[in-house]
């Protein structure tokens, strides 16, 4: 397990592979973001997006899936406080294959909880053409390494 002490500012991790399907875009949109350009191919074609695109919140959920599979399983994290500076840079479309690059930006020790700290992680989600489609800075809670004595 990687604890707060084990991650260093500047560390870069590359992980994940998420194949985006039309069915999943429409299913997510029906539940959470029922706007025509996420639901209906014809309406999407006529819109400024020129075709069906995934909800931006869906792209965030796909990032979370990749983080949950590849990071929270090997890093001693305990959820997140939220995120800053999220940018939806390019549309995500059916057939896209997404990957993640995460970089440790800053470590902040908790003043009130000596057993944890916050790590600011910038994550960039890219498609199969190497275009960054979304980026954000997550505020992830890491546990401190338990001391040998305890």
């Amino acid at each position: 397990m990687k604890y707060f002490e084990d991650v260093q500012v500047g560390d870069v991790m590359r992980f994940g592979r998420y194949a985006v399907t039309r069915e999943e875009i429409v299913e997510y949109a029906r539940q959470f973001d029922p706007q025509p350009f996420h639901l209906d191919e014809k309406a999407a074609k006529a819109s400024m997006f020129g075709g069906l695109i995934a909800s931006g919140w869906h792209t965030g959920a796909m990032l979370m899936r990749m983080v949950a599979e590849h990071m929270t399983t090997v890093h001693a994290t305990s959820g997140a406080m939220g995120f800053d500076d999220l940018k939806w840079l390019k549309p995500v479309r059916p057939g896209d294959v997404l990957t993640v690059e995460s970089e440790i930006r800053e470590k902040v020790e908790s003043r009130s909880r000596p057993d944890r700290g916050t790590v600011k992680i910038e994550s960039r989600v890219s498609n199969q053409r190497g275009e960054v489609v979304m980026s954000l800075v997550s505020l992830v809670i890491y546990l401190r390494r338990p001391s040998e004595a305890s």
Binding site: F32, D33, M48, G56, L86
Partner: protein, 150 residues
């Protein structure tokens, strides 16, 4: 039809309410955020959260759904978002919680190149105890009101 011109700084708009069920918490988490405190009631009980909690990305998705439904009721001409300044998951969301949305208009400015305008807003979900569980500050784009001459 509601256009960019119809939003005033300081205005607070109610977004309606929804209830989150345990089945929904589990279904979302198993697909997008498979961490034990979101997917396994027993393991969640033993975690620092003391019981099953919803993925923060699920909470945001519910906030998005309330916003889309409110826009539809108002026939507001929303055209997407370039990004968010911040998102904070302030309190755990648990099965059975009743979440009420509200949005506050913080700033408005027109696009210089396109017939749209930008609105910076704070979107929040409040639970049945009056606690803000998630607060999102972000930018939404709206169509400009067509001029009478056009």
């Amino acid at each position: 039809m509601n256009y960019w011109e119809d939003f005033a700084v300081g205005e607070v708009i109610g977004l309606g309410s929804c209830t989150i069920t345990e089945a929904e918490v589990l279904a979302f988490a198993r697909k997008y955020d498979p961490q034990p405190f979101h997917t396994d009631p027993e393991s969640a009980r033993r975690s620092i959260f003391g019981g099953l909690i919803a993925s923060g990305w699920h909470t945001c998705a519910l906030l998005m759904r309330l916003s889309v439904d409110a826009n539809r009721r108002e026939e507001a001409a929303a055209t997407g978002s370039p990004g968010l300044d911040s998102c904070r998951w302030l309190k755990p969301v648990r099965p059975g919680d009743v979440l009420t949305g509200r949005t506050e208009v913080l700033e408005t400015w027109p696009s210089r190149s396109k017939p749209i305008g930008f609105i910076r807003r704070r979107n929040e979900l409040i639970n049945q105890r009056g606690e803000v569980v998630v607060s999102v500050v972000g930018i939404t784009m709206y169509q400009r009101r067509p001029t009478a001459a056009a």
